[in-house]
C-alpha cells in the first residue's frame, strides 16, 4: 500500500468506509509527518490526541456497523484564527499568547461534528494580515517548495493562510482550513500548488473566528484538489444564527454536483487583469487556462471590470478601518498579554500592551485604519471606498450578465523568497491584486494549480463565480484540474 499521507480527503474517507485502512493508521501517518516537519514551522500547536480521538471514534463507529459521518477518519489542520475550545488560539500574535478559548468556532465545530479530527493549529500571518507569512509572531512559515535551480533560499508559502498551504503541500495534512479576507486562501494555494476556495460571503459562519475585517472575512478549505475542497466546504458552511451576516440557506451538495463539462457555459476574461509587468509565464498560463476552458466546452467572452485598479486602494481603506476597530478589544484586561509599566495608568497600560503585543504589520494597518476613520477624513476615505466598492460589485454584476464564471491568474507572480518584499508594503499588497476585487464583492472564488514557472514553482489560476454559485466555480476549477494534470510536488528536504 502506498503512503497514507499521499491520500486526499475523498480517498481517506472512502478508504476508511471501505475498511481499506483504519482511521487511526491515517491519523498516525499524518502525526508522524507533522512531527518531522518542524523546519517548515507550519504548526503552532500540535494536537495528536484530538486527531486520534476522532480517528478512534470513526473506527469504532465502523466496527459497530454505523453509517460513517461525512469526514469520519479525516484529520485536518486548523488555521490558528479559529478559536478551539481548550486549545491555545493566538492568531499568531503575542497579544494572544497563551489564550485558551472556552468555546469552539462554528466552522471548526461543524468539521468536528462531521467526524474530522485536528492535527494541530496552523501558523499564519498575524491576525491574517500579510501575504507571505512573515508577520507571525512565532516565526515565518517556510514553503516546502524550493526553486529548481538548486537555490535553497526559503520561499514564502503565501499568506495569510501560509501554515495551511505549507502543511497541505508538504503532506502534513490532507487538507486544512483557511480564511480569506483579500486573498488569504487563494494566494497561498497558488504559491504552493494546492487548491483553495473562498465561498460567498455569509456561507461560513464567522462566529468564533478571530476577526480581521468583518465585511470581508470568509473561511474556506485548502486541499489537494477540487473534490476535496467541495467535501470540506460542505461541512464547514451553513447558517448560523449567532452571525448576523450568515446566509440562511441550505448547503448545496457540491461534491455530488461536480462536473468538469462546461458545455453551454460562458467564461469571462476580464481585460483589466492584464496588468503591467506581469510575468510572461503567468500570461501564458492564463492563455493555457482559456484553452482548457474551451476544451471543456465553454465559450470564452472578453469582459470588462473597469474599476479593477481601484480595488486594492479601496481594500486598504476598508479592511484596515474595520481591523482598527475589531482589534481594539486586545487591551490586556480580560485575556491575552498585559504590559503594565511601573506606575502606569489604564490608558498607558493599553498603549504599552498593544505596542508590545502587536507586530509591525498589524500596527501599520491599525494606524491606517485609525487615520482613515479619524475626524474629518471619514467621508473622503471610508465613504468613498465603500462607494467604489459598490462600483466594483456592479462591475461584476454586469459581467455576469454576459458570462457564468471569470478566469484570471490567482497572483501576479510565483512564490518569492522570504524577506524579498518586506521593505515595501505596497509591493507586498500588490500580491493580492487579482484576489481582492472578488473579496470586496463577496463572490465565491477559488485557486487551482495550473502549472510551474521556469524555476519549477507552482502557478495558480483563479475562478470567480456569481454570488452563491460555488458549484459553478468548483466545476470550472475541476475542468482545469482535469486538463492541467498538475502532479508536481515538493521534494522532502525538511
Amino acid at each position: 500500500m502506498s503512503d497514507l499521507t499521499d491520500l486526499g480527503v475523498a480517498a481517506i474517507r472512502d478508504g476508511v468506509r471501505a475498511g481499506s485502512f483504519s482511521a487511526c493508521d491515517v491519523a498516525d501517518a499524518f502525526i508522524v509527518n507533522v512531527s518531522k516537519a518542524k523546519a517548515l514551522n507550519a504548526f503552532l500547536v500540535e494536537t495528536p490526541e484530538h486527531a486520534i480521538a476522532a480517528a478512534t471514534a470513526a473506527d469504532t463507529a465502523r466496527a459497530a456497523g454505523e453509517t460513517l459521518k461525512a469526514l469520519a477518519g479525516v484529520p485536518i489542520g486548523m488555521k490558528d484564527l479559529f478559536c478551539t475550545n481548550g486549545v491555545v488560539t493566538t492568531a499568531a500574535s503575542r497579544i494572544l499568547e497563551g489564550f485558551v478559548p472556552p468555546y469552539e468556532s462554528r466552522v471548526s465545530q461543524n468539521l468536528w461534528d462531521a467526524g474530522a479530527g485536528m492535527l494541530g493549529k496552523l501558523n499564519m500571518d498575524q491576525f491574517a494580515m500579510g501575504s507571505s507569512n512573515e508577520t507571525s509572531a512565532f516565526g515565518n512559515v517556510i514553503s516546502p517548495w524550493r526553486r529548481a535551480n538548486g537555490d535553497t533560499a526559503p520561499l514564502a508559502p503565501g499568506g495569510s493562510s501560509g501554515g495551511s498551504s505549507s502543511a497541505v503541500a508538504a503532506r502534513l495534512c490532507p487538507a486544512a482550513t483557511g480564511t480569506d479576507t483579500g486573498g488569504s486562501i487563494r494566494q497561498p494555494a497558488a504559491f504552493t500548488g494546492i487548491t483553495g476556495i473562498k465561498p460567498t460571503y455569509g456561507r461560513c459562519s464567522r462566529w468564533g473566528t478571530i476577526a480581521f475585517a468583518s465585511s470581508l472575512d470568509q473561511a474556506g478549505p485548502m486541499a489537494r484538489d477540487v473534490r476535496d475542497c467541495a467535501i470540506l466546504l460542505e461541512a464547514m458552511a451553513g447558517f448560523d444564527a449567532r452571525d448576523a451576516t450568515s446566509l440562511k440557506l441550505d448547503v448545496p451538495q457540491w461534491e455530488a454536483g461536480l462536473s468538469g463539462d462546461l458545455s453551454g457555459k460562458r467564461v469571462g476574461i476580464p481585460k483589466e487583469y492584464r496588468v503591467d509587468g506581469m510575468p510572461a509565464e503567468i500570461e501564458a498560463l492564463w492563455q493555457q487556462g482559456i484553452d482548457w476552458m474551451k476544451d471543456a466546452g465553454a465559450e470564452i467572452v472578453e469582459i470588462s471590470l473597469p474599476h479593477t485598479k481601484y480595488a486594492l486602494p479601496a481594500y486598504y481603506i476598508i479592511a484596515p478601518a474595520e481591523a482598527s476597530s475589531n482589534l481594539a478589544r486586545y487591551d490586556g484586561v480580560r485575556y491575552g498579554l498585559r504590559d503594565l509599566p511601573e506606575g502606569a495608568g489604564l490608558q498607558d497600560m493599553y498603549a504599552a500592551t498593544r505596542a508590545e503585543g502587536f507586530g509591525d504589520e498589524v500596527k501599520r494597518r491599525i494606524l491606517i485604519g485609525t487615520y482613515v476613520l479619524s475626524a474629518g477624513f471619514y467621508d473622503a476615505y471610508y465613504t468613498q471606498a465603500q462607494k467604489v466598492r459598490a462600483l466594483i460589485a456592479r462591475d461584476f454584476e454586469q459581467a455576469f450578465e454576459r458570462c457564468d464564471v471569470l478566469l484570471t491568474p490567482t497572483a501576479p507572480s510565483a512564490a518569492f523568497a522570504l524577506g524579498e518584499k518586506q521593505a515595501d508594503p505596497i509591493a507586498m499588497y500588490l500580491n493580492d491584486v487579482f484576489t481582492v476585487p472578488s473579496s470586496l464583492a463577496g463572490l465565491p472564488a477559488m485557486s487551482v494549480p495550473g502549472g510551474l514557472d521556469k524555476d519549477g514553482l507552482p502557478l495558480g489560476l483563479q475562478i470567480i463565480g456569481r454570488p452563491l454559485d460555488e458549484q459553478g466555480v468548483l466545476n470550472a476549477g475541476l475542468a482545469i484540474e482535469q486538463r492541467a494534470g498538475f502532479v508536481a510536488r515538493p521534494g522532502v528536504w525538511w
Binding site: P101, A244, T370, L373, A375
Partner: protein
C-alpha cells in the same frame, strides 16, 4: 411659559437647555447577546462571551429592544425610520470591552418627534410648551467600574455591558430649570406608560446628559457644556440652575465658555469639569460591519402602534371629559400604576367624578399614611367600586363610607360584608327618624321657638342632634326633609 431670567451685572440672561436621556430598554436579554439584564446580580455573572468581547464574538440584535424603541418613538409622534443602521463609536475605557460602543449615529431608528409639557399639570390654566425630540437611537450600555475596593486597582463588572439603552435627544427647547424638570417627568411618564423603560432613576434606568448654554435675549446660541449622567429630576433642575449661573459669571468676568463635559456633585451642588476624559473626541464612527442595516416592515410598525396603551395626555383628556376636575385628572394620570388602578375602578362601574374625588383624597391619603404604593393597595379597585356604589345608592353616608373604608384597609373584606356584619347601613326609615325628631324638639322647646322666630342657623343644630341620635346611620337627605316639615 414663565420667563426664566438670570440677572447678571450686564443685564438679563436666558438659559437654553437640551437633554440627552439614556433610558434602559425593558427587556429580558441584552441588546446583542442572550445574557440577562436583571439589576443587582453578582459581578460578571450576567455576561456572555459577546459582552466580554472575547475574540471572534459577534452581535445579534434583540427584536424586543427594537420594538420598544419603535413604540417609544410612536408614543411621541416621532417619525420611525424604516431603514436604520448601527455604527461603532470607538474609544478605549475599562468599562467598554469591545473598544467600541455599538450605537446609531448616522441613521437612527427614530427621527423627529415632540413632547408637550406643562409647568403645572394640575393647573388647567398653566401654559404648555412643545419640546422637540430630535431623535431616539438604540445603543449598548457600558460595564461598571468600582474604584473604592482596592488601593491601586479598579474593579470591572460587565453585567451592564451590552444592556440596551434608548438615547432620547431633545431639541434645545427648554428655557428654565422648571421646564427641564417638567420635560424629564413627562418623558419618564410616557416611557412608563409605554412600558419601554421602568424609569427607575435610582437604579440608573434613566439618566440625563444636560446641555446648557446662556445668551442675552434674542442673541445667537452660546457655547454649551454637557453635564453627564445626572440621575434625578431634582438634580437636572439644579444642574441647569447652577451651570447657567456659572456661565453667566464666567462670561461677565470676561471669560469664555469651553465646550466641555462636566460632572454634577450633589453634595456641593455644583458642576465640575471632567478633566480626566479630555481625550480629543474622535470616536471614529463607522457602520458596524458585523451587522446589516435594520430594515423594518410596515406590519412590524403597525403591530407596535396597535400595542400602544392610552398615553398620559389622552387619558387626562378622557378623564376630564368624564367630568373629573383637571386637578384630579392630572393627579390620577401622573403615574401609570395609579392610572391603571383608576381605570379598573371605572371599569367596575364607578362614576368618574365621585370615584376621582374618593381616589385622590381617601385612597391616596390612606396609602400615604400606610406608606404603601398603589400597587400594594390593600383595597382592590373592585372593592372600591362596591364601596362607591353603596354611597351612590344611599346605603352609606359619607361618614359611614369612611368607617367602612377603614375596616376594608384593615381586613381586606368586601364593603357589603362589613356593612352587614357591623350594621353600618344608613336608614331612610321615616318613622324612626320622625320619632327621634319629636324627642329632640320636645327637649329643646326654646330653640324650636327661636328657629321659628327667624334664627335659621339653628337648623344645623337640629340636623346634628338628629344624626347623633341616629348613630350616624340616618340618610342626611331624609333627615333634612323631615326636619323642615316638623319645624315648619
Amino acid at each position: 411659559m414663565t420667563e426664566f431670567r438670570i440677572q447678571g451685572d450686564t443685564g438679563e440672561w436666558e438659559v437654553v437647555v437640551g437633554l440627552e436621556v439614556h433610558a434602559q430598554v425593558t427587556s429580558q436579554a441584552k441588546l446583542f447577546s442572550g445574557a440577562a439584564t436583571t439589576f443587582g446580580a453578582e459581578p460578571n455573572t450576567q455576561v456572555s462571551l459577546v459582552d466580554a468581547a472575547m475574540p471572534g464574538m459577534l452581535p445579534v440584535p434583540n427584536m424586543e429592544c427594537i420594538r420598544q424603541a419603535v413604540r417609544t418613538g410612536l408614543a411621541i409622534g416621532a417619525q420611525i425610520n424604516r431603514w436604520s443602521r448601527f455604527d461603532r463609536k470607538n474609544y478605549f475605557y475599562a468599562d467598554l470591552p469591545q473598544g467600541y460602543q455599538i450605537s446609531q449615529l448616522y441613521h437612527p431608528l427614530v427621527g423627529e418627534g415632540a413632547i408637550d409639557i406643562s409647568l403645572d399639570e394640575k393647573d388647567p390654566d398653566a401654559a404648555t410648551k412643545r419640546i422637540g425630540v430630535e431623535r431616539i437611537h438604540v445603543e449598548q450600555d457600558a460595564g461598571k467600574l468600582m474604584h473604592d475596593q482596592h488601593p491601586t486597582r479598579s474593579y470591572v463588572d460587565l453585567n451592564r455591558s451590552g444592556v440596551a439603552l434608548m438615547e432620547i435627544v431633545s431639541r434645545p427647547d427648554m428655557a428654565s430649570p422648571a421646564e427641564a424638570g417638567a420635560y424629564l417627568r413627562k418623558l419618564r411618564a410616557i416611557l412608563r406608560y409605554v412600558g419601554s423603560c421602568d424609569g427607575n432613576m435610582e437604579e440608573g434606568s434613566m439618566r440625563a446628559d444636560v446641555n446648557v448654554s446662556v445668551r442675552k435675549p434674542g442673541d445667537e446660541l452660546g457655547m454649551r457644556t454637557e453635564t453627564k449622567n445626572v440621575n434625578s429630576v431634582r438634580f437636572v433642575m439644579a444642574v441647569v440652575e447652577q451651570e447657567a449661573r456659572r456661565q453667566v459669571e464666567v462670561i461677565e468676568a470676561g471669560g469664555t465658555i469651553a465646550q466641555e463635559t462636566r460632572l454634577y456633585d450633589p453634595d456641593r451642588n455644583e458642576t465640575r469639569s471632567m478633566r480626566s476624559k479630555e481625550d480629543a473626541h474622535d470616536y471614529r464612527y463607522f457602520p458596524d460591519p458585523d451587522l446589516l442595516p435594520l430594515e423594518l416592515e410596515q406590519a412590524f410598525l403597525d403591530d407596535c402602534l396597535a400595542s400602544l396603551p392610552e398615553l398620559p395626555d389622552a387619558k387626562r383628556k378622557r378623564y376630564e371629559d368624564l367630568g373629573i376636575t383637571p386637578y384630579n385628572a392630572a393627579v390620577l394620570t401622573a403615574e401609570v400604576e395609579a392610572a391603571r388602578w383608576f381605570d379598573t375602578l371605572l371599569d367596575a362601574g364607578a362614576k368618574g367624578p365621585a370615584a376621582a374625588n374618593w381616589t385622590t383624597s381617601e385612597l391616596f391619603g390612606a396609602l400615604n399614611r400606610l406608606g404603601k404604593d398603589i400597587t400594594e393597595s390593600p383595597v382592590s379597585p373592585t372593592q372600591a367600586a362596591e364601596l362607591l356604589a353603596l354611597v351612590a345608592d344611599g346605603t352609606l353616608s359619607g361618614s359611614l363610607a369612611k368607617q367602612v373604608f377603614e375596616v376594608m384597609l384593615e381586613t381586606g373584606d368586601a364593603p357589603s360584608t362589613i356593612v352587614e356584619e357591623r350594621g353600618l347601613k344608613q336608614t331612610s326609615d321615616t318613622g324612626a327618624i320622625d320619632a327621634v325628631i319629636a324627642q329632640i324638639m320636645a327637649a329643646n322647646e326654646d330653640k324650636v321657638a327661636d328657629y321659628r322666630g327667624g334664627k335659621d342657623k339653628l337648623f344645623g343644630f337640629f340636623v346634628g342632634q338628629t344624626m347623633k341620635a341616629m348613630g350616624g346611620k340616618a340618610n342626611p337627605g331624609v333627615v333634612n326633609d323631615l326636619l323642615k316639615k316638623a319645624l315648619g
